[in-house]
Subunit: 277 residues, 4 copies
């Protein structure tokens, strides 16, 4: 039996991201820009997504990009901005770490460490984040089977860190009308196999802004414990992934739809009015 | 512009299956056994699914099976049973046709013609069903792109038949924990591209009975106009696809869940009490 | 044990296409245009490919096309042209049949019946060609596992026809630099599992003319019993698949390369000088 | 234009692995065990593969394994053994590095750095190996498009290291009869797009020992510049990947077959007699 197997903890794991519980009845929404670009961009996004009900701010300081000539993130400066905005807005943050040598540094700035799709198979990195005391957001590799995904989580747990959230973000298939094929089947299968929370990233999963609200509704209906959504105040000017980023008002409309589906399946989403108080 | 393009009919197509409208605000559930096995099996299933809110009875008389040594369906006898049960229960029926030489015969017994996943690329068959006056349920090929799927529908429309319902039923991917990878992304993409109704088959899409209620909820949340679900009074004794067939009581429970999600997204499902009246 | 299993006939099956043996030490090359377009086009191609060492002429009279608005083949007229050119050039022909109602007619004109990728799962068609006395060229479905491919052949054998040649023609994957992913692994796996001959179609397998000679060499090196190659006197003017059709002089150069590899692996290809005598 | 584009260096790049040139007319074979297990195992394998014509010894000291509970390699001890055997046998060695913190250490022991399939997308690692003066063996990610593969190489070149060899090692598809689907199409496509040498790993590509000689012949026929082959003196006792490892005598027989195909396509493979002198 693996540490992450459902039988080893039938009641399920609650992951605590600086006071926000992932894996309970309340669906947790993590939102923010693909990449941190400036203080203004980040703070405006943080305040907007918080007002709509997001509980965790996402934003990349180190960006894995297919081409070495694309924008690679603001790096240390991006971490500083994340920390500053996190304090200003009162939102915990999640950001990606790609390099074992950076884990300690990213821990100093972030409330949750993201291991991205491209590094799900990077076992030294999984072990290193497993040795920290920060919760980990582990994204499924783009062609990882669910078995391999769970074994990747097992590397983190086996290194001593049980605070792992799994994230389905789309897989590689022959279909070309979407950037990836968001695999919502993964949610009920994972929830059955493991006690770890499972969230869904419809932004990378589809690559199309207009699809994000549809697939977010679907994710909640199939049992996801949360969503990871890209929001940008001006998507057309975004330095990365603009085509899949929602505008703040679109995100707000989406949150209302998601809330209705959540209630239909016996869950809740944090309400902005309560969240503000 | 293709005949099936959304722009050629922005208001959407209503497909009329002997009085049941597919493509409107009401989500239509087609349910029944994978294969017709006997009068008792079929009638019991029909009455049960009808009581739970299904509006159309599905059942295979001609079964496409990977092995020539597997049960191939009751054929003509199966068609007779479908017709008899349809009258007894007052439910329209949908059944598969695989052979151009059989189209006329199947039309005589059935209210809707199904073209299965294995024949989506069979253009002579598509043209032949396009020449009938029966509505057509066209399933996506197991590795058909959405573009190819729409072109397959176009063969039917171009032959003169506009009454086509599209059905997502899972695609082939590397993932092995499910029989196929049910591609819920297909629903919003197709709804945007075409005016034809789109339904989802979570039974073939997943291959696991326990997943069907989860993915049915998801299908409705992402905008499906209906569901195609396998139900069998005794799944363990089924001559085909028992592992993915629901028991009647499981189907009934699922319908209650689906109804709640439908309401959350501004749709309805036929209610058994009203349906009986 | 299936009829097509290697153990049921360890010595292998020789398929006789009007005097040309497929499955022996001599590698058989089937070449010709994707679609029959005119008497001139077909005869010129036939004479050219024969001079370079091809033993069987391919050409489509009924063309399965993704769009109903694309050229669908010359149909009956195409069959007449194939028969006429076959006599003129002294080459047996292979052509596709898609419709159970056409099997008898196509038999009257053709020396070998092709069941295409889109119809590999069409069991009524497989049974119908299984009832004829013509050899069958069965192409792998675009996402068929090798197990399913062998079961499709089994439908033909079980109907009474043992003269089946299997053809790998590329599968659907995420990779987009080629039209399909030609799966050369299929050749040794199939040769181990079945006694039926296995050939390779590098034209559909890659979709790029310049790749065809490379992959033909590879196919022979991994043990293929033959090749199916698209050749057109004027590819840029072809009514279908021009981008993957070789010019006659390119085909001739390719045959020399293939011959060298065949000899390196202990096989031969018919030599044009001997073929002419 | 990218640094790795064919047009930027039409004559092709020769990669120098301690005196062995990869990318020229001579096909280079790298062979050895999946994992370094002991001095005896490694030295016996080295002497055997060298006698059969291999020019570079492969062997893993740090092993990326799906499960944290599988054998993870001998680590530092494995590096020491590789260095010792390399000197004893007079063969350059290639071994994998997975962690940016280990690059300097692995450089001190190895003649060539391997970046494995699981780390092809790990850009910090690519940059780090790009800053060394060791040649790099870069394996294609298990679902990386060829475009992405070339961009990964570009990270290394852009960091200052032009000595990169690309390795096709099988991709993820729906087919389950092989461990991966070895994509030989990648060889001609890559050779056309880039000036970097391209080799093939038929061991991981197929997962079956008996297939390795077949696919090695195919790889050479489609233009590969080399092969990477797993050989183990006692595959059934191997600590990893035994099912796909050749016995030394099987490797020797394979090398004779490969040599014949190489000559048929105008290439050579180092001959053991000459290599010994």
């Amino acid at each position: 039996m693996k540490l992450c197997d459902r039988e080893s903890k039938p009641e399920g794991t609650l992951v605590d991201v600086r006071g926000v519980a992932v894996g309970g009845r309340t669906i947790v929404v993590m939102a923010g820009p693909c990449a941190v670009e400036s203080a203004e961009q980040l703070l405006a996004t943080a305040r907007a997504v918080q007002a709509s009900g997001a509980s965790i701010l996402r934003g990349g300081a180190f960006k894995p990009r297919t081409s070495p000539y694309s924008f690679q993130g603001l790096k240390e400066e991006g971490l500083e901005l994340l920390k500053w905005v996190s304090r200003e807005a009162g939102l915990p943050i999640v950001t990606e770490v790609m390099d074992t040598r950076r884990v300690e540094q990213v821990c100093a700035y972030s409330d949750m460490l993201q291991v991205g799709s491209r590094h799900m198979h990077s076992y030294p990195l999984l072990e290193e984040v497993g040795r920290t005391d920060k919760p980990v957001l582990l994204k499924r590799g783009m062609s990882a089977t669910l078995d391999e995904f769970l074994f990747a989580a097992e590397y983190v747990l086996n290194a001593g860190n049980e605070q792992v959230v799994l994230c389905e973000r789309g897989i590689r298939t022959f279909e070309q009308s979407t950037r990836n094929t968001l695999d919502l089947n993964a949610v009920p299968v994972l929830k059955r196999l493991t006690h770890l929370p499972v969230i869904v990233d419809p932004s990378h999963g589809t690559g199309h802004r207009w699809m994000v609200p549809w697939m977010s509704r679907g994710a909640v209906a199939v049992g996801a414990d949360g969503l990871l959504v890209e929001v940008h105040p001006d998507p057309d000017a975004a330095l990365s992934d603009g085509a899949q980023s929602l505008k703040p008002e679109q995100f707000d409309a989406m949150m209302r739809e998601v809330r209705a589906v959540a209630e239909a399946v016996g869950r809740t989403v944090a309400h902005p009015l309560y969240a503000r108080d």
